[in-house]
Symmetry: C2
Amino acid sequence: MDKPSLPSGTRDFAPAVMARRRFITGTIEGIYRLHGFAQLETPAMENLSVLLGKYGDEGDKLVFRILNSGDFLSDVPEQHRAAPEAKSLLPYVAAKGLRYDLTVPFARFVAMNRHLLHFPFRRYQIQPVWRADRPQKGRYREFWQCDADVIGTRSLMAEADLLLIMHEAFTALGLPDYRIRVSNRLILEAIAEHAGRPELFRAMVVAIDKWDKIGADGVKRELATAGFTEEESTRVLDCMQQNSIDAASLDELGQKLAAYPKALQGLDALRTILGSGIKANLILDTALARGLDYYTGCIFEAEIPDSGFGSVSSGGRYDDLTGVFGVKDLSGVGISFGIDRLYDVLEARAAFPAGLDMSTELLLCPMDDSCMNQCFNMAMELRRLGVSAEVYPDAAKLRKQLDHANQRNIPYAIIVGSEEMNSGIFPLKHLSKGSQEMLSLQDLYSRFRS
Amino acid sequence: MDKPSLPSGTRDFAPAVMARRRFITGTIEGIYRLHGFAQLETPAMENLSVLLGKYGDEGDKLVFRILNSGDFLSDVPEQHRAAPEAKSLLPYVAAKGLRYDLTVPFARFVAMNRHLLHFPFRRYQIQPVWRADRPQKGRYREFWQCDADVIGTRSLMAEADLLLIMHEAFTALGLPDYRIRVSNRLILEAIAEHAGRPELFRAMVVAIDKWDKIGADGVKRELATAGFTEEESTRVLDCMQQNSIDAASLDELGQKLAAYPKALQGLDALRTILGSGIKANLILDTALARGLDYYTGCIFEAEIPDSGFGSVSSGGRYDDLTGVFGVKDLSGVGISFGIDRLYDVLEARAAFPAGLDMSTELLLCPMDDSCMNQCFNMAMELRRLGVSAEVYPDAAKLRKQLDHANQRNIPYAIIVGSEEMNSGIFPLKHLSKGSQEMLSLQDLYSRFRS
């Protein structure tokens, strides 16, 4: 018999890992809910007509496709059957694929249900996504996204709300040194105009996006290759700014780009967000350039300094989420947390709170079969008090039962034997301390009530 | 542009539905956790070598297969390429499939991790599964299972614990009239011996399993077709019993089957479970016969009378969960709740608690842009008190903001204008009652603190 195995790039989440993952998702979800976001879930499978063409050619290749059921060749035209090739068969053998992100299914949902929704519509969604990427450290074929979007309003207060959520989430996760880099697509467009090469906007963005990796000289070389003259690229680099965002830094950039209304509009958006009074560790970073095919206004990207990991959360405003599904003019803004990346950061810092993986608080240890009834009754009462309690299922030797409690990180054990049942006094063992106290049932219950 | 659509048999869960689904899963999960079960999650994709051959030929056909990435024909042998047929290509074009249930992935997990686990191991798992079944009312291609298993003990106290969980879950869900039918495979084997046709055990089980649908006469006809004589089938029918389980009913059956040690062993198992003192609406039903390829001891099946739906939860003991993955002699017992079926039952009875879909408790209504700061600050303070609070993102007309609150079922709104900010007194509207009171910030916060 072959040893069973997991598909590469996928993982089991055993209880201890699961408890830590839930600390992350539960923390973020709790904050989303306090901010009035409502939960949506969409199916793992989507029609390929919904998925394809939304993520670029590379993305399309990474969509997992589900083989049609039954005779999956039945739709293949005759001319492709004689000398079958994967490429020519592909459009006919699979009509469904696995969710690649949460954004496209959300857009599809909004387009299909727009008459039932009340805008601004605030939804969150925490589900796995699948990509046929080459698995490597920190990159999985099944991983979790954790999105919140406000759709149907152009108000910048939606941006402010989402940045506040980022602040609250990182603080609650024990990562208060997070930084959120912010910018606005309009500022980038103005910089291209300022350099005199608006037609090279896209190439410029690709170059400055590498700022962190290749530095100013590297970006300059890339710009030259893209067709920028020395003087033009100097004008681009002159606008690169990475500093904490405040009235002064926004004014400084505003002076450089004063001739371009777009820039002033982009900077005003950032000023308005700051004016909401939200607290958050914001950095103005004009080299930030994420997903510009998609975002049209403010953009954000959060990272944990010195963690060795890149972005742990990101987002921005988009003006045409649902246009591709036939619904125009729905502006929205969204953020996403990468659960798997956050897990890795918290683990690398040993920053998970203690005690997360305790599944049982108290083990009831029956000393003989006649004590089972008593154990069940005590367990029921303890659960009514909210205590997670488990009855050891056999009247095994006490040492074996206590070993089990220790291995499972169960902090308390109560010994229930005939003697204890007669006296009405039960030994409560604190396994972590190695101590023990003798309690009546009443004392036991009041101990755990508090 | 084509209208976007969902793959047949799959569903979006919009916020109101999601809230109801979470009522079900959250209730059951809370009970699992209080009983000391720890959470496991496994990947959506499994290798087909793990999935196939575990669910019978019909099951194998219903597994969704994932097309291999890239050149999916590369492994197809030359002789199958000339005149390609789905059946001959199938083994070569897909190596992975979607999870079909939670049991086989759990068995795989236990087999792969047995040296890390402490037995008895108590795990729960709540995840979707996928089956390429023909969609119909109440049957979906993506649906949720909600399993708990205790593995690594033969103690019948594990059965008692799981039956107690069923009782607690149905009670908490507002379905206290549930019934759990119980039996034991050994009793069924003894009945076949009692009829003198142990070699027709399987056919007998298939026949009596239809008891509910075709009645005694129907079962008799089926038994005749299977080869039972009139006298033999009378002996089978004589042992059919459906009544509340107690010492008397067990003794009655025990007398009929006194000659068969297996029967006495099966009945003793039921007596031991009853002896644990657990409370649950149990029915002894000798016509119960679920998944006998799999279960080896006690079997359970729960239903809600007069609901028009069948089984909403089921389970039993198995002695060879992991044998197929090379790990022998791990006995276990498990139950599963069908979330989608429970949803349908609760909806048909209009038995969901009120207020589940309230995502925001309080809307802050800014009367002009200069009030946004104040709204954000008040919202932050209210969230600190655990109140889900949302700021309307524009200084729109009050009527529009209150309409939004009404449509979203937000019960409270606070009006924040310059006048209110000057006076320090804010109108709190109770939208459901149509009433309003004037509160200082301090009074507002203490109102929501309680």
